[in-house]
């Protein structure tokens, strides 16, 4: 069989019709698709079923490009693609994005997911358009409850997500939260190497936990809880709470200390202290922590989460019969998530039992849009590029294909708007 070509069992174009292009990233591209229809008929030739029995109407197909641009050879599948394939195949939970199948064809990997119409980044963006409106308290509570449910499932299965942020949390048109993008996720049960040694940098900077910023080598699922705390704050204020600037890695040198990001956190929470976080002095970047206030004196007079919260509720037009503000227990939950010491930070299990969810005796709905009139715009799908392109030059940028920036304005611009 040496030299015998690999023959795929299923072909992407035999089963799916590509509707359009959704987005692209370092991994490859995502397309929207529906089940293949026979020409002249509106009936799908095949029907994909969700394990719970319903038909799946639309799909998001993630196409991984080979490691090198325009590479015509098999180069070996990237470790992050392998992780995502293996974990998505293994895991199944209502609050996780559902993987329908994986097709390996033409040196490309196609991961076929159930389509979700929205994501939290879109929803935040929609509310930040003028006139600025707050995310209704009931929706917020439902979103958070579903996120924690999905996160508890991940952590119970020894998976740390490691890249939670609003863009990676999908929302279906029926208001179900779907945690997505497990490309950085990995198992943490007795890793063969320290988790640190594999991927030096994890979690998008704004959502990165303080122990990561301080160079901790043996981090834990608590990093996901910090990220969820940041997401919670962002859903409340419609802006990233700690919007730092990433210090870029210079050539092959060591990972730099993220002074600016640490400063942004310090402006609100104050810098961490040994009394609150006993293991703090053991952090590799602990000596650098003392330099943060020289660059950012704001950390000496932090505004504190209480004041941040009051300002946010006020500035975001919460109030009135239309949109009552969240219960005060929201602030308490936020404080316990944005806790410096990872050992004291709330776990997903504890968070689900927090009074914010259990207080009034009625658990949040699994439909975050329940009782709402707001209609969110559907995901933008560019129909210019129908081809998923299994044939020619996989992974190369083609002229006429929309770039990321056209579909999703750079985050900075969006936030200012």
């Amino acid at each position: 069989m040496n030299g015998t070509p690999y023959t795929p069992q299923r072909h992407i174009n035999d089963h799916y019709d590509i509707v359009g292009f959704i987005s692209s990233g370092t991994y490859g591209r995502v397309y929207k698709a529906v089940c293949k229809r026979t020409p002249g008929s509106s009936q799908p030739t095949t029907q994909a079923k969700h394990p719970d029995g319903r038909n799946i109407e639309a799909f998001a197909i993630k196409k991984f490009k080979p490691d090198k641009e325009g590479e015509l050879q098999y180069t070996g599948i990237s470790q992050s693609a392998i992780r995502e394939m293996a974990l998505c195949t293994e895991l199944s939970h209502p609050a996780l994005i559902h993987l329908v199948e994986i097709i390996l064809e033409s040196k490309c990997i196609f991961m076929v997911f159930e389509y979700a119409e929205h994501d939290l980044l879109q929803i935040i963006h929609h509310h930040s358009l003028l006139p600025r409106t707050p995310i209704p308290a009931s929706a917020l509570r439902s979103c958070m409850y579903q996120i924690f449910s999905g996160l508890l499932y991940l952590h119970q299965n020894w998976v740390i997500h490691r890249d939670l942020k609003p863009a990676n949390i999908m929302v279906t048109s029926s208001g179900a939260i779907k945690i997505g993008d497990l490309g950085l996720a990995r198992l943490f049960y007795k890793p063969l190497h320290a988790l640190f040694s594999g991927d030096k940098v994890v979690v998008t900077i704004w959502y990165r936990a303080p122990e990561l910023l301080l160079g901790s080598r043996h981090y834990t699922p608590a990093i996901d809880l910090w990220a969820v705390g940041c997401i919670f704050a962002e859903l409340l204020s419609l802006r990233p709470i700690f919007k730092g600037e990433e210090a870029k890695q210079d050539s092959k040198k060591a990972v730099p200390f993220q002074r600016n990001q640490m400063g942004k956190i310090g402006e609100i929470l104050g810098l961490p202290k040994k009394v609150d976080w006993p293991l703090l002095p053991a952090m590799p970047e602990f000596p650098n922590l003392q330099t943060v206030n020289m660059h950012n004196p704001g950390v000496n007079r932090p505004i504190g989460l209480d004041k941040w919260y009051r300002n946010t509720i006020q500035n975001n037009n919460y109030g009135g019969p239309q949109s009552p503000p969240p219960d005060d227990s929201a602030l308490d939950l936020l404080k316990k998530l944005l806790e410096y010491d990872p050992l004291k930070r709330l776990t997903a299990e504890q968070a689900l039992k927090h009074p914010y969810f259990t207080g009034d005796g009625k658990l949040p709905s699994w439909n975050c849009f329940e009782g709402l009139e707001t209609k969110y715009p559907p995901r933008k799908v560019s129909t210019e590029a129908h081809e998923i392109g299994t044939g020619s030059l996989p992974g190369t940028k083609r002229s006429g294909l929309p770039d990321d920036s056209l579909l999703r304005p750079p985050q900075k611009k969006m936030r200012d708007g």
Partner: protein, 328 residues
């Protein structure tokens, strides 16, 4: 997935009954009758021993972890349930399984390094481009239906050792017995904790605390007991042998299950614990029998016979492997 072995793809899709395994293999044989006639091979377990020893040698060259090698062996086992071995180049499958397993077990190796080391060890590999490993990786993942997370008995052993107060030596012996179990179908038949219990049982019976390794055979695995159990056993290139001799395993099996209470407190604790646990005792007994039977068949192992068997169909690859690793 550790919390939920019962929800795992291994439990749901890659665990079979014995009759199911027999049927799958019969189907493969029926579909490839001519190849079977033309290229007879030694007992499947002996072929597994050959593959394991080859992987161990490669693992030693590359300082790979035992767990990655175990995962690679599981991939190979599953793959050959779906694809006839005589239609493949087992060396390419081995190299690819190790390459994939290393990524899955978070100790990735560069594809070119993998090719280089595999080619050096196996002149029969027959490929000189890393893209061939990349292509074979697609075939492998496709046959495995992307179900790549494996549950091994090693983790259960780590949990069981303190419960039964095993000495380091006993734990190491149990660890080596688990290594040996990959030469049977057990990982396709039973949950990993059952295999760990069998390994603990055999280890305790074979080496009661405080006694010299009386029942224990010429094991090279045991001589590695000072080594970290996560490293591939640094067995000498020529000195591969089973952890347990056939006769010792027989004795252990007969003795252990006929109420050999005098074997010491560890064994009686194990027996009591098993009686109270919900562990499937039939599975434990059957798996122990399979191990005893493995050590029996191991006595007839000949590396040369396995190697030559493979070489024949690999050499004739042009005719034998016309349909390659791709499905039909």
């Amino acid at each position: 997935m550790a919390a939920n072995y019962w929800d795992s793809t291994q439990a749901k899709f890659w665990t079979f009954t014995k009759p199911e395994l027999v049927d799958m293999r019969k189907d493969l044989e029926k579909a490839n009758q001519q190849l079977y006639n033309k290229y007879p091979l030694p007992d499947r377990r002996l072929m597994s021993i050959y593959i394991q020893q080859q992987l161990t040698k490669l693992g030693r060259r590359m300082s790979l972890r035992q767990q990655a090698l175990a995962t690679a062996q599981v991939y190979i086992k599953r793959f050959y349930l779906r694809v006839e071995m005589r239609k493949t180049n087992p060396y390419l499958i081995m190299a690819t399984a190790v390459y994939l397993a290393c990524k899955m077990e978070e100790c990735p190796q560069h594809i070119r390094l993998m090719l280089g080391e595999a080619a050096r060890q196996w002149p029969e590999l027959g490929v000189s481009e890393s893209s061939k490993i990349g292509e074979c990786e697609f075939a492998l993942i496709s046959q495995l239906s992307s179900r790549l997370i494996c549950h091994h008995p090693y983790r259960s052993l780590t949990e069981l050792s303190p419960i039964f107060g095993l000495s380091n030596e006993e734990t190491q012996l149990a660890h080596s017995i688990i290594n040996d179990s990959y030469n049977t179908d057990l990982i396709l038949l039973y949950p990993p904790h059952v295999l760990a219990i069998v390994a603990v049982f055999l280890a305790v019976v074979l080496r009661p605390a405080g006694q010299p390794a009386g029942l224990q055979a010429h094991s090279t695995h045991a001589s590695a007991s000072q080594q970290s159990p996560t490293q591939a056993s640094p067995t000498s290139a020529t000195g591969f042998s089973p952890t347990v001799s056939s006769s010792a395993a027989q004795q252990a099996f007969l003795g252990g299950f006929s109420g050999l209470k005098q074997a010491g407190p560890k064994l009686s604790k194990l027996v009591d614990w098993l009686a109270e646990s919900k562990v499937d005792m039939n599975a434990v007994v059957d798996a122990t029998q399979e191990m005893v039977s493995l050590y029996d068949v191991w006595e007839s192992y000949s590396e040369r016979a396995c190697k030559e068997g493979i070489t024949k169909f690999v050499k004739d690859g042009g005719t034998a492997g016309s349909s390659g690793v791709g499905p039909k």
